[in-house]
Amino acid sequence: MNHAIALRTIVKKEVQRFIRIWPQTLLPPAITTALYFLIFGKLIGDRIGTVGGASYMDYIVPGVILMSVISHSYANVVSSFYSTKFQRNIEELLVSPVPNWVILSGYVSGGIIRGLLVGLVVALISRVFADIAINNIAVTLSIAVLTATVFSLAGFINAVFADSFDDISIIPNFILTPLSYLGGVFYSVDMLPDVWQTVSLGNPILYMINAFRYGLIGVTDVDVTIAFVMTGGFSIVLILFSLFLLHKGVGIKN
């Protein structure tokens, strides 16, 4: 049994899926983030001045890019895997000798690729508004991949438990988006009162965004090492939990 062929098949199918519907998957983030850069970065940002030594436009670019990576890696896996469940074509995979780790890797890879592709689109648009020289390419790429992995896995778990299309929009709308906005995309936690600074440190997205910001412009509110340990730790825990769910057949088998 050649698992590489099975993995390639799932990844190719996933990539073809979001490319085929690019007006729904790749175009909206380009438009939305262009508006963020124009309104917050340019029109309002010019009046704010600098944050952490960087212009406000430069300061928000990393957060906006990573926020797009987070939402699109999550959205890709949750909608694709839930549709597969809903149409019952998950049975094609369950009947075949594809091991659970290949199924998980295939769907998560699809999420990571879409997340990073959207991140690239947003980064290219940001070039119109800001001229950023990358501070540390290794940190930038590795935290982006790790973040996309964590949220692809989270999307997968959401899809496993979802019983309706409503269930796949609750977490993005009521948890993911608020945590992203409160994760320091548009501000530094130093700007907050002490109590809210402490509360913010409980938000894992804050660490991811700041590590990514450090990679791009060299500015961060948190220790980058902690950000890597936390994101890597989340990845491992979510991988193990996802494999456990697949092994038990939760949500996909009787």
Binding site: I5, T9, I10, R88, N89, E92, L94, V95, S96, P97
Partner: protein
Amino acid sequence: MKALSIRNLKKIYNNGFVALKGIDLDVEAGDFFALLGPNGAGKSTTIGIISSLVNATSGSVSIFGHDLRHDRARAKSCIGLVPQEVNFNQFETVKNILLNQAGYYGTPRKIALQRTEQCLKQMDLWDKRDMVSRRLSGGMKRRVMIARALVHAPKLLILDEPTAGVDIEIRRSMWKMMQEVNRQGTTIILTTHYLEEAESLCRNIAIINHGLIVENSDMASLLARLNIDYFVLDLAEPIDAVPVIEGYQIERVSDKVLNVGVPKEYGLNTLFKLLTERNIKVISLKNRTNRLEQLFMDLIDQESDESLQ
């Protein structure tokens, strides 16, 4: 060589429903095997467990000698499943559905392309290969599922009501396709509610009811057990009264139509002779029910009576 060997298979669902009470079943390699039973008898659960869509509570399943629990990948590689309901991605093209399925089984791209062409031609779908599958007719969708199940050249093909809801012409053409697949060496397990289908295609049969196998034998022996055949006779002239002939069960349907139960030891010649003596002329006759259907109903009724007692 056994294509399928099931031992003491039990399934209790989370809601407490006992779907299988410990069944044993063997299917020989090369067989065309019918697994029959009324709705809710345990057929779909059995097939679900064999094809890894349902987790068994206990018992063992072995496919061509590979235990489904301990040698899972090899066991699964032997199986092709055609489910009851359409379950492929309706936004994919027909060709991609087969290519993806071949990929899941680790088939290299070049071979997958050859097998896809071969299976689509065999199912008379090659000219639809680039069509998005949701645009296909119901009969074509069924054939796509058969082609998909065959693309990795399985040794055991499981057909779960493959002809449900298709018209008689398509059903007959699908029978020919299934017979051809079996002739090429693939073992087939068929579940169906069309007992005529099972009688025409299958050599061996198991009947499942209330989670237990109530009959398991070859089709010929099973049919031989039926010692009475039922016929509908069309008469040339209307009759006033139902003729009484010893040994035969005769019922009047209308003035010119009779239902007759003919015991095998008496036969039809004697019946015609006795009807002719009574000036009753028969212009045509047909089987009132499918023979297997009669046996099936007898077995299911008997089982229900026993469970009531």
